[in-house]
């Protein structure tokens, strides 16, 4: 069996503007888009895309499939799929985007738990369930493509990914920074009326990241 798919090809070295190429991918029940891309790479066109673990952990294979961000490694292959790079980030070659802007905008905010000098003996800790869920984030950056207003070139404009990172710190039992204030510096107020963002692996971004940061109460 074959599945007919279209894949974004873009090679700035050759000065082109990019186009979609057609590929008849060999297809078996249970195959994923990642397998089709690897296959395309081996058989016909050495398409350039990031990949790592192949089971949702490394977050490298996020692409847009039929206009929606998805992990290639967990999207079932079928006929008629169109695969493009994440629109929220600059395209470098084929399906590869520049991931850097998504991280560098966070650096001024110390996106790690600000614990200070650890006490001699740590208090017995319990991890809030929000922290547990948020820590599953594999940083695939797909959520940025679901945000209508995120701009990678505007340092005052965060997106769902950046708010998840701040919320991770916010819910860390030992963090001592005012994360809601940081979120405001990244213009989180504009999220209040939107809430369109989605996580590719099901983290409830709005409920566990955006709303707690918007409501602003600094967790002890």
């Amino acid at each position: 069996m074959k599945a007919s798919i279209k894949v974004w090809r873009f090679d700035p070295d050759n000065g082109d503007k990019g186009n979609l190429i057609q590929y008849q991918a060999p297809y078996q029940e249970g195959d994923t888009v990642l397998q089709a891309l690897l296959d395309l790479y081996e058989q016909e066109y050495p398409v350039c895309f990031r990949f790592g673990c192949r089971f949702k952990k490394c977050g490298l294979c996020a692409v847009e499939i039929n206009g929606r961000p998805r992990l290639a490694c967990r999207t079932p292959l079928k006929d008629g799929l169109t695969i493009r790079p994440l629109r929220a980030l600059p395209n470098i070659r084929d399906l590869v985007v520049d991931r850097d802007p998504a991280f560098s905008v966070l650096l001024p905010y110390q996106p790690w738990p600000a614990i200070g000098e650890p006490p001699e003996r740590l208090p017995r800790l319990t991890e809030p369930v929000e922290h547990q869920r948020l820590m599953a984030c594999n940083e695939c950056l797909g959520c940025l493509s679901t945000c209508p207003t995120y701009r990678h070139d505007d340092p005052s404009c965060g997106g769902p990914f950046q708010f998840v990172k701040l919320a991770q710190a916010h819910f860390h039992p030992l963090d001592r920074m005012d994360r809601p204030a940081q979120a405001r510096a990244l213009s989180i107020e504009r999220c209040g009326s939107c809430l369109k963002c989605r996580c590719l692996i099901g983290i409830p971004i709005v409920k566990m990241a955006i709303q707690p940061l918007l409501e602003g109460a600094h967790q002890p």
Partner: protein, 572 residues
Amino acid sequence: MINHQILVVGGGLAGMRAAIEACQATGKGGQRLDVALLSRVHPLRSHSGAAQGGANASFGNAEAGKDDNWEKHAFDTVKGSDYLGDQDSIEVMAKEAVPRIVELEHWGCPFSRTPEGKIAQRPFGGAGYPRTCYSADKTGHVMLHTLYEQVTKRRIKVYSEWMALALVRSAGVCVGLVAMEMLSGKLEAFRADAVIFATGGAGRLYQKTTNAIINTGYGMALAYWAGVPLKDMEFIQFHPTTLYGTNILISEAARGEGGYLYNAKGERFLKDYAPSLMELAPRDIVARSEQIEIEQGRGYENAYVLLDLRHLGREKIEERLPGIRDLAISYAGVDPVEQPIPVQPGQHYTMGGIACNTWGESELPGFFAAGESACVSIHGANRLGGNSLLETVVFGKLAGERAAQFVQSKENSRKGEQDIQSALAGAQSKIEGLLKADGTEDFPTIRKEMEVTMTEQVGIFRERSPMEKALKIIRDLKERYRRGCLRYHGRSFNQDLMRALELEGMLDVAEIVAMGAVAREESRGSHYRLDFKARDDEKWLKHTLARFTPEGPRLEYSPVTITNYPPVERKY
């Protein structure tokens, strides 16, 4: 030329832990050492993040683990290694385990807790007590984040998506390396007084593997080409529970939490192989038992057995093994709450690696190794689950510390610059050669043939004549490699080129695995010879060393360090 005092290659747990330690040291003038980290994927994307089950440390926090201590951890590891592990290093690991895990906790690593708030511990294979600290089933992920936060906080320079292509020695010491910035395709020379490799395992030599597509063992090949021997490479771990079809790992945590393995006759077949430890026997034994059941017709579709978690109940599965449940649903269409999971053995871990001692020192001064790419040796002939995450932080730290001591005694000299420049020129012309080549062979095809050959002929059960055939195939593939041809000739993010470069290393490493396995005429741990079924301490209680020569690898041997645990028969 870029200059750093210490350059760490590899952004996984071992590399980051090494960099953190090294940058804490101060140089002669009292200023902090200049440490940089270079990695072919962003550190957080390293395969360490896929580890599910946990890391061992003898806290004794679980009720059933009250009597645990570091000596028991050391003994279990020695026995698990089938007595090939070096006992002095194993003792260091077992003693350092608790402080290293506590340190992670202090850095904010969210380990799962007992009801009293202590770090929770679960049972793992081959261990006498529940000793494995975990964070649900995403332990590697949270450890990786914790270390990356420390790296960022310390402002360690990270070269992300840079691939090392050559390690440079000059006048008998390591002086730096050549690397490629993947995004632009630009080559760059790096000068360093010490280089630490933490480049991960070589699982992708095999077709059926739990490893990421990026775990190619290329770092091992680079060290080998620079004259550093690889140790014990024939010891390849096969994990008993990988998803049938995709070989995605179902962590040992599933059995640690109480999962059972059934053959097609509905029997918990381990009763015939490891009656006392059953499903929690070490991996080599469980994987072999499974393979025997399958080969003797007691598997399903001659390919898999069943891992049953149903009796654990929905609540426990959702609380302790949510990631595993999700993987089974996503990739096998099976919800373990309701149905058993089809599993089969698959390649999982490279016990061997760059030969080094407890402090990561290789025989090349200034060159260190840690993590899965190193062979200290802790795991000997078979690694115990949960010892590898531990190894990354224990030996990453020691390698970082020793590398710092090594450079502290030196001026940041410019020695070896000429050799680095000529290595750069060498890499450049190799790449240009590949980009220009118009050969008839296709690299992906060569790679596939290698993977299949290794899986079928140098797998769980081994025998002289099929392995000799495999060796011949691999040597033919090396010939064909020279007539290979790229399909993409641009510079930026040329994966076709990167994968071709890696393949050259993989073929050499595959040859070393096969040669070591043919030579070792005994069965020990993961290395099981149908034609030599017994362990033979008289002849083979020794490490294999493979050394580069222009004619191919030369095998040498070195003694095993025995301290407190004389070898006895290994029974479970």
